[in-house]
């Protein structure tokens, strides 16, 4: 399953996109994120998937544009820590 966590508002689309088939819940991205945007938990969208999986925390889901801002400088943008940390390429950002 492809899970889009985030939102679209008039200024743009801010989604963290997770491929749940690729995510093994290792939590490397959670450790890489300094802002506490990600967590490992039980998938609430798939009752038959019992292994832990990465989720975007409720606290940050509706303000990703701001929460992720510091990892997205206007110029000289480095690779995103959370995306780079994932060994399976399960994570991406829409913006």
């Amino acid at each position: 399953m492809i899970a889009h966590y985030g939102y679209k508002d008039a200024s743009g689309e801010y989604f963290i996109i997770l491929d749940t088939e690729k995510c093994d819940g290792c939590g490397a991205c959670v450790d890489a994120c300094r802002w506490g945007v990600l967590e490992v938990g039980v998938d609430p969208n798939n009752p038959f998937h019992e292994e832990p999986i990465v989720l975007v925390t409720e606290e940050h889901r509706n303000k990703l544009k701001y929460s992720c801002a510091q990892c997205k400088p206007v110029s000289d943008r480095p690779p995103l820590p959370c995306v780079s940390a994932c060994p399976n390429g399960a994570l991406s950002h829409s913006w």
Binding site: D9, S11, K63, A69, P73, S75
Partner: protein, 255 residues
């Protein structure tokens, strides 16, 4: 040389007349639904204040979201970012970061010692990141906009505001009022929320001192306090923060 800068914002039109680097006339008018009429009115008042007629002005540069409405006066235009940068460095030579919160847009601009724009970030098209947020909140809280900031000074504790959208935040404010949350604390939450959004934008361009806050919102003590707390410094504020864009445009016109 005598030049004029016209800043057609979403809510107000500012006109400033400059003679050899000195301000000799200025005026601010509500844009209403006819920016062109407001521009004409504001321009004439500024002229009268300076004791000049239109023909005395050698060059006029317009800026702001509605700058095309001023085309009947200004043959040249510049971006808000360039105008803000120019105006800010003139008033504060130490400025390296300029924050401008307008009615419909918030901007953070990184400049060099000459006032040249190095980088900038804009919050646009979403009211949650601009002055419109505070306007809507003042209506929901039934406190005049001019008094909203001062109210925060009496706040005893920080309450969280979860809604990120102006429309949903209006309902949240109503819920907080029903829950008997003091208006001072709600006001603090409102200013903390907008400050959070502006600060995240500043961090995208990299914070560098000194930081200058311009635009009408700079007169709001509640917002200034929240911003200072979040940035862990004291922002510099010009005497008339709403005229900085027009000043920058007038300076550019003199070059």
């Amino acid at each position: 040389m005598i030049t004029a800068g016209i800043d057609c914002g979403a809510k107000t039109v500012k006109v400033l007349i400059l003679k050899d680097g000195r301000v000799i006339g200025k005026s601010l008018a509500l844009a209403g639904f006819d920016t062109k009429a407001a521009t004409e009115q504001s321009f004439n008042i500024a002229l009268r204040g300076a004791g000049l007629s239109k023909n005395d002005i050698q060059r006029i540069v317009a800026t702001g979201a509605g700058r095309l409405e001023a085309a009947f006066l200004a043959k040249e235009e510049t971006t808000e970012v360039a105008a803000d940068a120019r105006g800010a460095i003139k008033l504060f030579p130490s400025a390296r970061t300029v924050i401008d919160v307008g009615a419909e847009e918030g901007r953070a601009i990184k400049i060099d010692r000459n006032g040249k724009v190095v980088d900038f970030a804009v919050n646009e098209k979403c009211a949650a990141g601009a002055g419109a947020f505070m306007e809507a909140m003042s209506r929901a809280l039934e406190v005049p906009l001019e008094e909203l900031g001062e109210l925060t000074l009496k706040s005893q504790r920080a309450v969280p505001m979860n809604a990120q959208c102006v429309v949903f935040a209006e309902s949240e404010v109503v819920t907080l009022i029903h829950a008997k949350t003091p208006k001072e604390d709600i006001s603090r939450a409102i200013h903390d929320a907008i400050s959070d959004r502006i600060v995240s934008m500043v961090r995208r361009i990299g914070l560098e001192r000194d930081v200058v806050l311009i635009g009408g919102v700079a007169k709001n003590i509640g917002f200034v306090n929240s911003l200072n707390r979040d940035l862990e410094l004291e922002v510099k504020i010009p005497e008339e923060p709403e005229f900085v864009g027009a000043l920058g445009a007038a300076i550019l016109a003199a070059e």
